[in-house]
């Protein structure tokens, strides 16, 4: 189901508008929607990898595969006009917030039809229409921007919440602490979502992060929660709670999602044995895959028919393939555009 069809239900807490029974019924649809969103990210990223390998994509890209439950679980707790800021590993956030694959592919290929007219590329996709304030290639670079968006929302009384996605690596950037301090002081509606995928580039997070991650938020009086970032139900439940808390004026929160990237730091990082083992990778793929975890639960405990997943996969694959073809066929920007958009 396309993202927009659910937006009404997402805008208003489900239980508030219908009885418990209906809520469960809609929930199943919601979970299937989340499955679809996660699968879209997964398949999208596989295509990105192929585009790289076949030399059709300029530059590099940082794939989100394996971490889909984080972006989707969080973004499904948001209104369309809520804000997110994203990272160099941002395709998942962008899609989860509602962007469409065709214009994303176009952006990755540097085409005029891309979300940023080809000027941003993989590391800078922004989509104002879905509240995506942009991916950021400076690690930690958007922590204050998200906090500023939350301040703006509070000033304008718009009840928008801002979510700041960042990796474990961004815990090394002082800016995060400056931003969290102000968010806490002024009770800003911002959720800091720390995607701990165990590595920053080629270094394990334990070599870069002293102490406890959650304590770093609590030190500023910000409540912190930690969830299994592979389990979209867990992520979503926590996100929903924290987002609603923020929306109702109770201030910022910090959500640690433990997760794993299946591919290398970027598409070119294919010999990884010097920093992590094949066994570790296999263990995550086999026992902690977000798609498998959700589909198994829906199949086994929610009685969803296996055919439903096939149908979703067919639909998503078609969408992604069509989007990719759209982008391949699209034209490059005109040379004159290089000097446009420098100033508003």
């Amino acid at each position: 189901m396309p993202h927009s069809e659910l937006s009404g239900a997402k805008g208003i807490p489900v239980q508030a508008i219908m009885g418990d029974e209906q809520a469960t019924a809609l929930s199943q649809e919601q979970w299937l929607h989340m499955y679809e969103q996660m699968l879209k990210i997964r398949i999208f990223e596989e295509h990105v990898n192929e585009l790289y390998k076949s030399a059709k994509m300029p530059g590099l890209a940082h794939l989100y595969s394996g971490e889909e439950a984080v972006a989707v679980g969080v973004c499904e707790a948001l209104r369309r006009d809520d804000y997110i800021t994203s990272t160099h590993r941002g395709h998942g956030h962008c899609l989860a917030k509602g962007a469409s694959v065709d214009r994303m592919f176009a952006e990755l290929l540097g085409k005029e039809a891309g979300y940023c007219r080809g000027k941003g590329g993989s590391m800078h996709i922004a989509d104002q229409d879905t509240g995506n304030l942009g991916a950021n290639a400076i690690v930690g670079g958007s922590t204050a921007i998200a906090t500023g968006a939350a301040m703006s929302s509070k000033m304008r009384g718009s009840e928008q919440v801002a979510v700041c996605f960042f990796g474990d690596g961004a815990l090394g950037q002082g800016l995060l602490y400056e931003a969290m301090n102000m968010a806490a002081l002024w009770k800003l509606p911002v959720i800091y979502v720390c995607e701990n995928n165990l590595y920053g580039e080629y270094t394990h997070f334990s070599e870069m992060v002293a102490g406890e991650i959650s304590a770093r938020a609590r030190a500023f009086g910000i409540p912190a929660e930690e969830v299994d970032g592979q389990d979209v139900r867990e992520v979503h439940a926590a996100a929903k709670r924290l987002v609603e808390r923020a929306r109702s004026g109770e201030g910022p929160a910090f959500l640690i999602c433990n997760t794993y990237r299946y591919y290398g730091h970027h598409v070119g990082d294919i010999s990884r044995s010097y920093y992590r083992s094949k066994e570790e990778e296999q263990e995550w793929r086999t026992n902690h895959d977000p798609l498998t975890l959700l589909s198994r639960w829906l199949l086994e405990e929610q009685g969803v028919d296996a055919g439903v997943f096939k149908e979703i996969e067919r639909r998503v694959t078609a969408e992604v393939e069509a989007g990719e073809q759209f982008a391949l066929d699209a034209s490059y920007p005109e040379p004159g555009e290089v000097a446009e958009d420098v100033y508003a």
């Binding site: 304030l133 400076i138 304008r156």
Partner: protein, 358 residues
Amino acid sequence: MSTLNNPTEQVLTGMTSNPRGRFIAPTAGVSAHTREITLAQAIREALAEEMRRNPSVFIIGEDVAEAGTPFKVLAGLVEEFGPERVIDSPISEAGITGLGVGGAMTGMRPVVDIMFGDFIGLAMDQIVNQAAKVHYMSGGKLQVPLVIRTTLGATRRSAAQHSQSLHAWVSHIPGLKVALPSTPYDAKGLLKTAIRDNNPVVFFEDKMMYQLKGPVPEEEYTIPFGVADIKREGTDITLVATSSMVQVCLTAADLLEQEGISAEVIDPRTTFPLDKQALIDSAKKTSRAIVVDEGYERYGVTAEIASIIADGAFYYLDAPVKRMGAMDVPIPFSPVLEDLTVPAPERVAELAKTLCGR
């Protein structure tokens, strides 16, 4: 003792007897209804007017509210607009700049106060990699109507980390605009323009000039960016001067007049957009030029402007274009040393005489 500060001064308003200070008549746009106000008051008026005009304008910075900044420039604003719009922040230059960027991207028009220009080093990533690039990187969709107000200028006996004029850094960066007023009149008109601009603007105020008085109309006005202002007309040599150096050059022009040399003093007012044509035209007219700016000389603003004039007026120049910036040393504390680091009227006049063959 002119090298020392005024002992009864209670706030950091700069020297009351600013060695560079002198009355400057604005050269354009002044109506009959003018008053004499200080540059600090002009800034305050610009902010107050724009905050009344547009509820999305707000101020954030260190000690901007009750204290009205250490320079007292913002005194009274929190009383009128409340602490929700005049926000005292923690000492987090990078953080407040980033908050400003995020606020600007989402419907607000933040004015971020960075107390000393020396501190922009802390916020350079947010200014340069974020504010300056968001509009372009998003293919023109997102905008960052952000003003960063900060200061420049030495001779306040504040030593190496509180005296620099670092506007060359941001002038170098596409996506930013940079304004640096030299009179109360310009300060008010340029700041109002900055606040209404849909791009990030870095606005440099000379901290030694806050008490400088000058005529400012009662009526509303703005000054467009990218329009140089001839502060004094002349025919023999062009003195291009920015910010604090405008007064130095006006004094130099007085000295030169006594020697029968007619100096034109022209102030670009914004380093970007830069009114190249006006600078070149002035140099073509006079056939000689000196560029004076308080930033470090090497790889500084004087280099850009000098090279533009040397190129654009090539066939008209009777002498090489000369530059005077701050001496290329960290700014020393000792007054006897510090005063040597900043261009002085006598030195400008001396160089001008040489160029004019005297």
